[in-house]
Symmetry: C2
Subunit: 357 residues, 2 copies
């Protein structure tokens, strides 16, 4: 295993120490339990937007904490869910009295722990709502998930909802917006190479020199198919077509009902893309893929969107939700409305995403 | 070779096409000869700041074109110098009459071609000055260089000089500033893994599973030593100490003398770092190194700078000058004065670096 680390067990903590030293104007770090939070938290009158998940997906989530995006992020060990006490303490450190929105990627451990944390926070008098992100069209159920996995749309939701929180949206309005982003976002990824979890020391899976995995998850979970390497235009076509032609997707998710004061099951339907839709096109490196290759993906994606009558009104290209050093790419398309576009354009200042500040 | 590409011969052009589609508000692309330039070029009354070099180091330079940074970038084939006609046409497309500054990394081909381009542009009535970046303390001469190689300081120079150009500095003042940034910046890098040039199809060099190369160049040129893998704190110590303890470095460089109207040899001396210096600390991924590892480098670098009495007043961490998918890291320390700090903080809007816009 070749990594720029000291002790495999200390990777997450030493990374947090480095982040705290590099970005004291943006973030503070709390240890035991570990979480990253805004340097100016809690922000008066503002709902706190919090996310978290296993480490190894940097800059998501710790690198997305700052003005206009997350108030806090809870990093688990690499590819391991964070614990409820991290999420609870992050809520307590950032709640201004206006409540907390937990943005939760759909992995069994994350979902369960964020629900427990929400219950614990409510017991301490903090209003909390949890919104699930489940946007990966590749597989229905997977190694760590019931239903679709939460991937690229998470980054977009954190930006859009973070901007809305900054503008003063209340907790229920933010939850509505976040749910709307989720149902309008779809993603799919692929890998050329595996990655190695530091404490494991071995690659999470093996791929032959002429093989790739289509529909891979962000922890190296198997996807749709393992096939022979093809030109990037073919790969982009496979991913984009799976996303664009995905039909209405119906499932029930658990959300907290603030009136009934209980968890309820609600049915959500992702509307399919339609000609004339305005979309944000997000081309994301899985981590190890060099920057020179991403525009080649974007080039083909642009052509495919055009052919389907989708207008790309915003885009994002780079490393935002990664799988350590895995080489590969994921594509996310998010159907945008005017409100979402406006919020996307709002200022943001985090170590991983920054403009207008 | 596993890459997200179509045809190895078309990588650079298809990347440029993707960049043009993704960032029409920032850049335009000219083909045959290839260069990327500001969407609003030429900018009235402003000196055009132009750089270039082999492709494969993205986002440098094409991703650093935009307001507050470069006016144009000339990409060669991967790891191959661009040609004088690219540089000449980039100058003609961006010169507003205020002249052109070529920022040139010290590689024999780049230096020669930028000098030819400058002569050709002057023959067409454009004022041009060339400033060399030669900041790599690892080796004196190398495979592609006489003297020190140009690496990380290039990115910092492009930001600082770009901001000054935006403010209206004239050509000679910009050249003086760029030279000052160069002599005050020092870098050194290392690699855990090699990278593969698409048209070669094979890694540029081989490293055993327990080996690393200290002092590597950005094209995989050999460095100071090939040794057994060590913890990142030791690696950071090797790089940082080589930089901080580097003595005054004296060499002659060729620059154009605007009064004499001829190329002259001038002697430059890099002053060594001293206790009390304010520095910008730049931790740069060679491309494939995951984001989780960079703050661990920064953490140790911060400690080492403190121990040497260097105050880190600004920092930059991420992928800015890369070697395709190579895993590894480089460190740059730039001694900052108040003017440089102020210019660093100025707004910038490029696809690779963006804030306040």
């Amino acid at each position: 295993m070749k990594k720029l680390i000291n002790d495999p067990e200390q990777v997450v903590v030493e990374q947090l120490e480095g982040m705290a030293l590099a970005y004291p104007d943006l973030i503070k770090v709390h240890y035991e339990p570990n979480f990253v939070y805004r340097a100016d938290a809690p922000v008066d009158g503002k709902v706190a937007v919090i996310s978290g998940g296993g480490s190894g997906h940097e800059p998501m989530h710790g690198g997305l904490v700052g003005v206009g995006m997350l108030d806090a992020a809870c990093p688990g060990a690499v590819f391991t869910s964070p614990t409820p006490d991290q999420m609870l303490e992050a809520a307590k450190a950032t709640d201004s009295g206006a409540g907390v929105l937990y943005i939760v990627k759909n992995y069994t451990g994350d979902v369960m722990n964020f629900e427990m944390a929400a219950d614990m926070a409510r017991a301490e008098g903090i209003d909390v709502l949890n919104i699930l992100i489940d946007d990966d069209v590749a597989v229905k159920d997977s190694l760590y998930t019931a239903g679709r996995r939460g991937v690229g749309t998470t980054v977009l939701a954190e930006k859009i909802v973070g901007a809305a929180a900054e503008r003063g949206y209340d907790l229920e309005a933010l939850a509505d917006l976040c749910r709307r982003v989720n149902i309008n976002g779809r993603s799919m990824g692929m890998a050329l190479t595996p990655c190695t979890v530091p404490t494991a020391g071995e690659p999470t899976f093996e791929l032959e020199e002429d093989e790739m995995e289509i529909g891979i998850g962000i922890h190296g979970e198997p996807g749709r198919k393992r096939i022979e390497l093809e030109p990037v235009d073919e790969i982009t076509e496979m991913l984009a077509t799976s996303i664009i032609e995905d039909e209405a997707y119906t499932r029930t998710v658990r959300e907290w009902d603030m009136e009934k004061e209980e968890w309820v099951e609600i049915e959500l339907v992702d509307p399919p893309f339609e000609e004339g839709d305005k979309v944000l096109a997000f081309v994301n490196s899985m981590g190890g893929t060099p920057d020179i290759e991403l525009p080649i993906v974007y080039r083909k994606l642009h052509e495919i969107c055009e052919a389907h009558g989708l207008e790309i009104v915003r885009n994002l290209m780079g490393r935002y939700i990664t799988s350590l050093e895995m080489e590969g790419v994921s594509i996310t398309l998010l159907k945008m409305d005017d409100e979402m576009i406006e919020l996307w354009d709002e200022p943001v200042k985090t170590s991983g995403l920054r403009w207008k500040m």
